[in-house]
Structures are given as structure tokens and as C-alpha cells.
Amino acid sequence: MPYFSLTPADREAMLATIGVQSADELFADIPASLRDAAREAFANLEGGRSEMGLKRDMARLAAKNVHADTSTCFLGAGVYDHYVPSAVSALASRGEFVTAYTPYQAETSQGTLQVIYEFQSLLCRLTGMEMANASLYDGATALAEALILAYAATKKKRMLVPRGLSPAYRRVATTYTQGLPITIDEIPFDTTTGQIDGEALKEALKSGDVAAVVVAQPNFFGVLEDAPAIAEATHAAGALLVAVFNPLSLGILPPPGSYDADVAIADGQSLGLPMTFGGPGLGLFCCKQKFSRLAPGRLVGLTTDAEGTRGFTLTLQTREQHIRREKATSNICSNQALCALVATIYMATMGERGVREAATHSFHKAAYAREQLQTLPGVKPVFSGPHYHEFAVSLPVAVETIGKALAEEDIIGPYDLGRDYPELEGAALFCCTEKRSREDIDFLTKVLSAALPRPKVESGASGSDLNGNGSVHLDGVAVHYADDARTFYLDW
């Protein structure tokens, strides 16, 4: 049997020391009926495989998944296929890091603690924020924690959350706050630009009862908001600004500290973490230092020993559940330490220039892809606002149909925005990271083109009007398309 360290002889000797005849006797305090039921149920449990057999079974399960190492991924929407230097996983998979316990005992955990201190420090620099914690579960739960902090800090209950924020984040924030006196109001997006509807935000802030305004930079559509203007309106109304950012994008975009965010949260997956079907992710939580005692999660601080030697320790534990129980700032009792380690090594390896380059390349590749895709008949950009590395286009056929056609050619994506936004039915969200080569993007364009109703454009016989409406000919049948790219009709 696997993973046992006692031999039968050891067991005998230990039983003798204890003074019992069998290990069974050690369970005599459990009612017999319970023991019998459990024994019977476990006799029918699957498993008990050899390592060799099980590894093969698991490899066969893995083979049932299409994955981004051999396919080409244009899917984003919160999880991104970035390049990760080989040194990152080599270092992060060291058993000393992987199998270490939470560093409550500081003297035996200086390695883990220094890594977290470096992680917090790198995040402060990347975001321009005053402090960062040792990480939370993921971006969505980090947002929920930020809203709960805003409630505790302002004693106000109303949160303004943009509709252009990730639907997953909004869903988790609602789940987290359902038992608390917090209400979440949605701010619509401008259907032309894709940005927060500024007028609607101003209107919602008028009542003066808002605890926090959330701004996603970039938002779920890949569109960049006018964050400084939103920050100003928010602060003028006495509310806190909670910024949701993409950490790697900060290689090129102004950081949340520069527009005076009070709390800045994100998922850190883009900092070197594999996609792993979405989890584990890495919740990043940064804030102004005046909120340190309201912040959730672990914090590592610098200190000294009696000799004055520098060392690191968990700190401000008076906020946490193991001390404060029901009065704790959060019930969280872990951090994503191993994922924070990955992000730290990623940033250390890439360095300032590498981080900047990955962010810059992602932007340029997405801009190129957006330009290429909109040359296709019926494919139109949905939003006019400035974009980072994702963009929405409307397609003349169902997004699901396109997805299937792309899958045939080993392309993963795009994301069907109609799943979460009925008003964006037919719109698809594409993402490009620095990993997508020009060749990849040209191939996507070619495959997408082939999947669209095949136009046979007769010279001079087609064109589009100022609204983008027009017609092409498909094997002798004129196909007319309208600018919203959802209305198609055929002339037989």
C-alpha cells in the first residue's frame, strides 16, 4: 500500500507500548453501528491503484482535454495564456517551498516569509499602492473582501459595481455579501465606448450613501476606463475607489496608485501561473496603509531578533480569525502562498524590462488582431473605447458555431459575451497575449474567414455605406449585412 511509513513490526511494538492488542481497540469509543456502516461503505470505494496504473489513467483523462500547449489560445476573460520562463516552475516546484507549512513559526520559515515580503514589496511597486497583503484566494473573492472592507471603513452599505466588470466577479461579490447589510447597485456601460456610463455614475453618487465605487481597468471587454475621472467623482462623493486591475497590464498602464485608488485588487494569474482550469488563482489585495487594520488575510512584516539580525514574521494577527474569532476582519485562514511564490519568481525573472515587454507585446498583438478580424465581412468591433489586450467583435453567425469551427483547427476561443450579456448576443471576446505570433493571428483570421458565410465579392458590385451596411455575394446570392452585424438577409 502507498505512503505508509510503519512496518507490521513497528505497529506491533507501538501497540505494546500503548498497552492494547490491536489498532482496532483505539477506535472502541466510536459506536459499533457507525463503524460497521463505514467499513461496508469503504469496501465499495473505487481506487487502490498502483502508481503505474493510476498515472496512466490520469494521463488518459488529461488527453481528453484540449490544451494551450498544442492548441492556440485566443480565450481570455480573466485567465490568460502568457509565456512563463522555465526557471519559474523549476524553482517554484522545489519541495521545500511546495511542502512547507504556513509560516506561523517565524524562525523555521524565513525562506517562505522573505518570499512573501518580496511579493508584497513587488506588488506595492507594480501598483503604486502603499501596502499589499500575502494574497487571497482569487480576484473575485478579493473584490468581495474589498467591498466588505469599504463597508467597515465607511459604515455605508451601498456599493456601485459596473456592469462592464467581469460577470464572475459580480457573481462572487453578490454571494459573499448576501448575509451582510451590503447592497450592490449596477452601473451600466456606454454601449458605444464600452466604458462606464459617466452620467449614470454621477447620478448614482448623488445620494451620498455610497461606500465604494468599483472600476475595472481594463474592464471585461478589454476596454480602458477614464479611471482618474471616476476616482475624482468617487472621492468627491465621499466614497472609496476600488480598482480592479490586470497585474501584467501594469507593465504599460498607469497603476491604480496613480489615480488614488483606496483599494486595488486583481487576480495574479497573469504573473506566471498556469491556467489549470481556472484554479488555483491568486487574489491580489492592495490598499492604503490607513486601512491596514481592516485588511483581510495574512501580512508579513519586517523585524529583528535580539541580536538585531533582520528577519520576517507574520504580523497584525489581531485582525485574524484564530485570535479574533467572530470579530475578525475576514474568516480567511490561508493565502495562496505557493501561487504568490510563482508570481514573485516570475517578476524577478522577467525583471522590469520583461514585464514591460510582455505587457506591450500583448497590447500590440491584440491591436493587430482586432484590425485583421474587422477586415472580414460582417465582423465589426463592438466598442470604440481604447483597448488593452482583449476586444469584442460582433459576428455574423452564432459565436458557438464559430467556436466549433475554430476548434477544428486547434484554436481555443473566443468567449461568447452573449452568455452573460443578452444585449451583446453575437459578440465574441478575443484575447492576445505576447505568446500569439503574427502567424497565429493570421491563421485565426483565415480560419474565421472560412467559417463565415463565404462571400464572393464581385469587383465593384459591393461596398458598404457610411453605417457599415452593405452587401457581398455568396455563390451568386447577395448577402446584405447591417452594421450591427447581427441582421442578415439573403436575396435569392
Binding site: M1, F4, S5, L6, I18, L26, F27, D29, P31, L34, R35, A37, A38, R39, F42, A43, L45, R49, K64, T70, G78, V79, L91, G95, E107, Q110, G111, T112, Q114, Q120, S121, S135, Y137, D138, G139, T141, T174, G251, M275, T276, F277, G278, G279, G281, T304, E307, G308, Q317, R325, A328, C333, S334, L338, A348, T349, E352, H361, H364, K404, A407
Partner: protein
């Protein structure tokens, strides 16, 4: 005052602008005009790859781990983390899959999560399971949200505003209850550290939504009255939540569902060997009785008659979602691998050996240290240093700090809080008898040191890279980010390392 830097310099002290290696090819698309203002400096260090590798390798060598040391940490189940789990999780067919891919292109992943749901429900003796919760604490939160939804569906949510928690419970129990908007009633334990049935009866009024129990409890004792307690709660209209932190003691020996428990969470990084990673990530699957099944979070994995797996979002009574995607799938994958490797008989041997090892340590040390387990224990034993404290001034904290000098991690100390100077010891099933013996010898030697040289114990550890650290000063000065060396020097310690909170539980 700072005399010397830490053993390994900070990354920021290694930085040499321009030294970072290249990883990306040149840009192969035309540069687009930037529609936004770009930022100036990031202030991220630049270090050559070889120095990065040395830096993190050295840091890794500067930390205890299961791969290098024995952790007798009570309530933490620090068992061996099999390398097979890591090899499986690293397969590109698992690691490089996007969570929003079409179901047809992620059947392998869906099957993993579905089979985990199924087997974890069976192990609990319950009807259904969600693998979405991200850690034990979030599992508690999820379970309590389902309890709240259950009472709400019966029109009793406004009436049942209270959760009853024994005083021996982990701090997360009351903290999670508060996150659901519940008030918490704490019930004192009886003299043996178990649930006091009279106190429980008195607390179980009609405003109680649920009782949260831990079984075996935090003294490592099986709650013999568990069935009676569940019946009592149910008669009152309340549900029973079980904290599954101590499942390693009863795998295949007793199932929570059979006891009458309605909902429980697992800590897969304890029971099912997934790595602690220095503090996470974990996963906290939640198993429930059928009455709570409608409230499981979305999306849930289902299997169609065709055999295909799918995401079920159409669950109108669901409590919502606890993660941006599908939970810590990579952790669940490791746990499933572990369960399949063991099978039912293997898992029964796990609890058997874990309990045997804990009782062996108890038998060897109970003559020297007082114990809260006069009648034996399950997977962990609770010893006390109160005699050493009163006779020689040596505390559980001193013992915790001395053990690393003998090559062992500290036990959990000052928890459970109901035992003075408590030291909670959980050896797990994956330590050799030789290791258990060496640990016991160290504990006995430290008791001798307490008599002969108590000051030595106050100064311990003596062989670690740093001496006992000043936690109180860390909290006072609060340096969380490396900005300038001046910030560090501004915060002077008086040279007497103190804890942030004396006597606080430390796991």
C-alpha cells in the same frame, strides 16, 4: 537596531538594471499607436537568471517543509505529499487548460471534478458534494450559506439568526458564521473537553440555525454523544455542521452522514495530502445531505445519460458562486489522485496508522507532560506544559522554540484554548517509528533542560538562521513593503523579542 541583514539579501538588494535575461522574441506585428498614457518606471528589480535561481534556491533551503522535517502540528495533518500528485497536476492536459473552454474540449477535467464530487460524498456518508470551495474556511462559509438558504426556503431565516459553537472550536467557525450575518453563541466544553450536552440543550433555542461541531474534537477525542447531539439539534429544527479538519482520524471508521451530520467540509490539504505550499492554496469541498443539495453553488458538474459531463448553471436555489471560475481544480485533482491511489482499504489504514502513531507519542510522553487525553486519543494528543511553567518558568512557547534545534517543527501551541499551556501533537500516518521515537526523545530531553537550564529554553532557538524574532515590534512598526532602508532603521527594537499577543494560539 539593525546589525546585520538577513541570511539571504532581498531581491531588491540584488538588482542591477539591465542584467535581466531575455525571454521573448522581437515584436512581429506592426506597433499600434498607444491610445493611453503609459507609465514611466515600474521600479521592479532586474536580476540575471542565474542569480534569481540562487536567490530562490537559498530561500527554499531556509525554510522547514514536510520534505525536510517532521511537523508534529496538531489540527494540521502534515502528512507526506506524494510526488505522483504533482506529476499528474503538471500534465499539460491539466495545467494548460482554460476554464472557459467548451465542455466538449474539457471532458477530462469535468470528469475529474465529477468523480471527486462523487467519492467525497461517499466518504462523508452524505448525498452530494461541491468541490468549488477554495479552503476549509470558505467551505464553512459555503455550508453556512446553504443552511441559511435552507431556513429561508422554509420561511424561517428571519427567526433562526444564531449559530452555536463549542468553545473548543477553531476560530474560523465563529468567523465564518459572522460572515453569513449570524450571531454566535459559544458553549462551554465539559470537563473532558467534549460537548457539554446540558449546556447544548440550554443553548438550542428556536432561534438557532445550526450547531457547528468538530469531530473528533480539537482535543483529539471522538464525541461519543454525536448521534444524540444531532437528534437534539434536528428536533429543534436546527441543522448540524461538521468541521472536517480532523477527518484523518476517522476515514473509513465512521462517516459524518451516518452520525446525523447534515453538512461538512474537508480540508484536502490535511486529509488528502495536497501540499500546504507555505500557506495555500488549499481546497474545502463541502458534502451535504439531500435536503441541502438544491443550494449547492454554481456551476455544479453533472453527467448526462450519454456519459458526457457538463456544467449545470440551472440551479435556481443555489447560494451563488465562491470562485471566479471552477474552484481550485488543480488541488482537487491532487486529492482525487491520492484517494484513487489508496482506495477504501488504504484510506482505512491511513486513519488506523494515524491514530496508532498519536497514541504511541501520548504513551511515551504522558509520564513527563500532563495530558488532556487520559483515556487515549484519536489522530492527535494534547499535552500541557503547565507543570514546567509553574516549576521552572518554561512555557509551551519555549518548548515550541526549542524543538527546531532538535530538528523538529514546533507542535501547535496554545490551542485548544481550553487547555493551559497546551501543545497539540499530530504525527500522521507517514512518519517512521524511528522519527516518532526521535521526536519523543527530544521532548523528554527538553523537559530535562527545563529543570537544568530554563534560560536556555527562553533563548531558543539557537541554531536557526535568526533568533527569536520581535513580533510585537513588527506590528508596531508595520514595514510590509521594501521601500528604503531608512524605513527599516527608523523602527528600533529594544532587543527583547516579544510576541504580538502573549499566549495566542499558534498552529
Amino acid at each position: 537596531m539593525l546589525n546585520s541583514p538577513s541570511l539571504e539579501p532581498l531581491l531588491f538588494e540584488l538588482s542591477d538594471p539591465g542584467s535581466a535575461s531575455d525571454y521573448l522574441p522581437p515584436l512581429d506585428v506592426p506597433e499600434a499607436p498607444l491610445p493611453f498614457a503609459t507609465r514611466a518606471e515600474l521600479d521592479i528589480p532586474e536580476v540575471d537568471e542565474h542569480s534569481v535561481v540562487r536567490h530562490f534556491t537559498r530561500l527554499s533551503q531556509n525554510t522547514f517543509s514536510i520534505d525536510t522535517h517532521f511537523y508534529p502540528l496538531g489540527s494540521c495533518t502534515m502528512k507526506y505529499n506524494p510526488k505522483l500528485n504533482e506529476a499528474v497536476a503538471a500534465m499539460p492536459g491539466f495545467a494548460s487548460v482554460h476554464p472557459l473552454q467548451a465542455e466538449t474540449t474539457s471532458q477530462g477535467w469535468l470528469e475529474v471534478l465529477f468523480r471527486a464530487q462523487e467519492v467525497l460524498a461517499k466518504i462523508a456518508g452524505l448525498d452530494a458534494c461541491t468541490v468549488q470551495p477554495l479552503a476549509g474556511a470558505q467551505g464553512e462559509f459555503c455550508g453556512l450559506l446553504m443552511i441559511r438558504a435552507y431556513h429561508n426556503a422554509r420561511g424561517e431565516a428571519d427567526k433562526r439568526r444564531r449559530i452555536v459553537v463549542p468553545d473548543s472550536a477553531h476560530g474560523t467557525n465563529p468567523a465564518s458564521a459572522a460572515r453569513c450575518g449570524y450571531a454566535v453563541t459559544t458553549v462551554k466544553s465539559n470537563a473532558e473537553g467534549g460537548v457539554d450536552m446540558d449546556a447544548m440543550r440550554a443553548a438550542l433555542k428556536d432561534d438557532v440555525a445550526a450547531v457547528m461541531i468538530t469531530n473528533p474534537n480539537t482535543l483529539g477525542v471522538f464525541e461519543a454523544q454525536i448521534e444524540e447531539l444531532c437528534t437534539l439539534a434536528h428536533e429543534n429544527g436546527a441543522l448540524v455542521y461538521m468541521d472536517g479538519a480532523n477527518m484523518n482520524a476517522i476515514l473509513g471508521q465512521a462517516r459524518p452522514g451516518d452520525m446525523g451530520v447534515d453538512v461538512m467540509h474537508y480540508n484536502v490539504h490535511k486529509t488528502f495530502s495536497t501540499p500546504h505550499g507555505g500557506g495555500g492554496p488549499g481546497a474545502g469541498p463541502v458534502a451535504v445531505r439531500s435536503i441541502l443539495e438544491p443550494f449547492l453553488p454554481v456551476p455544479h458538474v453533472i453527467q448526462a445519460e450519454s456519459g458526457e459531463f457538463a456544467w449545470d448553471w440551472d440551479r435556481p436555489d443555489a447560494v451563488g458562486s465562491l470562485h471566479g471560475f471552477r474552484g481550485n481544480s488543480g488541488v482537487i485533482l491532487r486529492a482525487l489522485t491520492y484517494i484513487l491511489r489508496h482506495g477504501g482499504e488504504g484510506l482505512r489504514q491511513v486513519s488506523s496508522d494515524a491514530v496508532l502513531s498519536a497514541n504511541y507519542i501520548l504513551a511515551r510522553l504522558k509520564g513527563t507532560y500532563e495530558t488532556a487525553n487520559p483515556n487515549g486519543c484519536k489522530h492527535e494528543c494534547v499535552l500541557s506544559a503547565s507543570k514546567l511553567r509553574s516549576q521552572y518558568g518554561v512555557s509551551a512557547w519555549d518548548i515550541a522554540k526549542r524543538l527546531p534545534d532538535y530538528g523538529f517543527h514546533a507542535p501547535t501551541v496554545y490551542f485548544p484554548t481550553i487547555v493551559k499551556e497546551s501543545m497539540m501533537i499530530e504525527p500522521t500516518e507517514t512518519e517512521t517509528k524511528a522519527t516518532l521515537d526521535a521526536f519523543c526523545e527530544a521532548m523528554l530531553a527538553i523537559a530535562e533542560e527545563a529543570k537544568n537550564d530554563p534560560d536556555l529554553l527562553h533563548r531558543a532557538p539557537l541554531t536557526m538562521p535568526v533568533g527569536r524574532l520581535d513580533e510585537a515590534n513588527a506590528a508596531k512598526c508595520l514595514n510590509l513593503c521594501w521601500t528604503t532602508p531608512q524605513a527599516e532603521e527608523a523602527c528600533e527594537s529594544d532587543g527583547e523579542p516579544k510576541r504580538e499577543i502573549a499566549g495566542a494560539p499558534t498552529y
